[in-house]
Symmetry: C2
Subunit: 302 residues, 2 copies
Amino acid sequence: MKRVLLTGASGFVGRHAISPLRARGYEVHAVTSRAMTSGGAVHWHQADLLDGSASSRVVAEVRPTHLLHFAWYAEPGKYWRSPENVRWLEASLALLRHFRASGGARLVMAGTCAEYDWTQGVCSEGATPRRPATLYGICKNALHEVMSGYCEAEGLSAAWGRIFFLYGPGEHPSRLVSSVASALLRGDDPSCTHGNQVRDYLHVEDVAAAFVALLDSDVTGALNVASGRRVTLRDIVLEVARCAGAPGGRVKFGAIEAPQGEAAEIVADVRRLANEVRWAPRYDLTSGIAQAVDHRRAESAR
Amino acid sequence: MKRVLLTGASGFVGRHAISPLRARGYEVHAVTSRAMTSGGAVHWHQADLLDGSASSRVVAEVRPTHLLHFAWYAEPGKYWRSPENVRWLEASLALLRHFRASGGARLVMAGTCAEYDWTQGVCSEGATPRRPATLYGICKNALHEVMSGYCEAEGLSAAWGRIFFLYGPGEHPSRLVSSVASALLRGDDPSCTHGNQVRDYLHVEDVAAAFVALLDSDVTGALNVASGRRVTLRDIVLEVARCAGAPGGRVKFGAIEAPQGEAAEIVADVRRLANEVRWAPRYDLTSGIAQAVDHRRAESAR
């Protein structure tokens, strides 16, 4: 029996992991700090993982064979530099120890492209140096290194998925795709930066499905969870406008100043994910953004 | 008023920090997990820092302006790979947060030469890559990176002292200088490896004094706390024999196999400590080993 503890289960990525976990035969124990969602085929556990005793209790109750850890502080705009990152690092290490103590064997945790040195071209797991510029990236990078050393010493099988850029249902309203889509759908003209930044975007359902495929494999170490495709923010925004049935000319590119020192290009090498996990995304940008905009349209109509 | 919280205060290095802290005008609050030592001019606090509530309580009681953090898991032979390193990383991060929350301003934590890539020659803070090969080194390196990012975000002044090799009063009986001295003093012939390893050794009183000088400065970032001098283990051992009044021929070099993959040379660049902290050691190897052997002789005579 494969019994997985899924943390951050009501978060942006975590909620989309439930269905692919069940499809692969996992008994899903979903942890959330929010008010309990209704059960269904998933076992929900309400616990604040920042509280060490709650974390220890839920792991001891579930005795998971697998752990998929997404929970983290993620308040848009604030999470890059918040001291909450340190508390989540502590909580994640404690969770790892509890998982080991209760007999767990295989785990995957969520990392970030912000661990990499963004001045070194395409981000490749084996070759690109890590040089996180934010407390968020520093804490994730530290968790990865300690998790790896601990799991090697204790004989656990572990992988680390580095998330790049994502969009889709459940996205925070202040983020790129959802904010531009909402503005256009309600008839406003959205303001953007110049839009020439090159990024790597993946639909959130694909991000979650990739993590589940990784968990269900025996691949270890760090892997980029991304599309491997270069796209400018301008092209993303214009695709959103097309799907929203709005002329691209309504988007005011350049109306917002881009942050100083922003990376020109952040794109992933996804060969490990493709060749070792043998996973490929279900959405391309056209179908993914169409789904995301449709979803937002349905939500506004409610 | 400078009020310092000193952790690991009954440990090998920490106990030697009390006297130089008092000499520099600090009100010393010494934390130990062991049975309480008698007071004197030092305020002793018994607390297990692995217990988050005890850690929080002692910091709230003392409200230190300064923090000097030595406490860690240090069982010889075991500490390199023990999972206890992860718990001490968690405890150190929590201590850092509590220190900040209670109004602390300046701190120094103890790091290790085991954070460096030992294949890259003389270890220099700014130039030598970090590549810890043990869970101990991984956790210390992670603590340094997170401490730096956190202190920058929160406006704390912080330094990180990387300890190399040390010896002196209070040394664990299984370590090099004390074990060879004890064997020779009781008339046994000590067994050693080949002894050609080049290392950087500093007397423990100097290590502690250097940390106190660093704390009392406004120097930030990582600094090697070492002698900057290259010495072979063979020369150390022969100096111990000389001080013990024993012929060097009694030491059985090569009787113990050196660990596979052991670094040939681990030596520190100490220019930051000398030029920025303006600190110099009190002992050289001859006077330091003489003091350490005298101390051990006095202890055996008790």
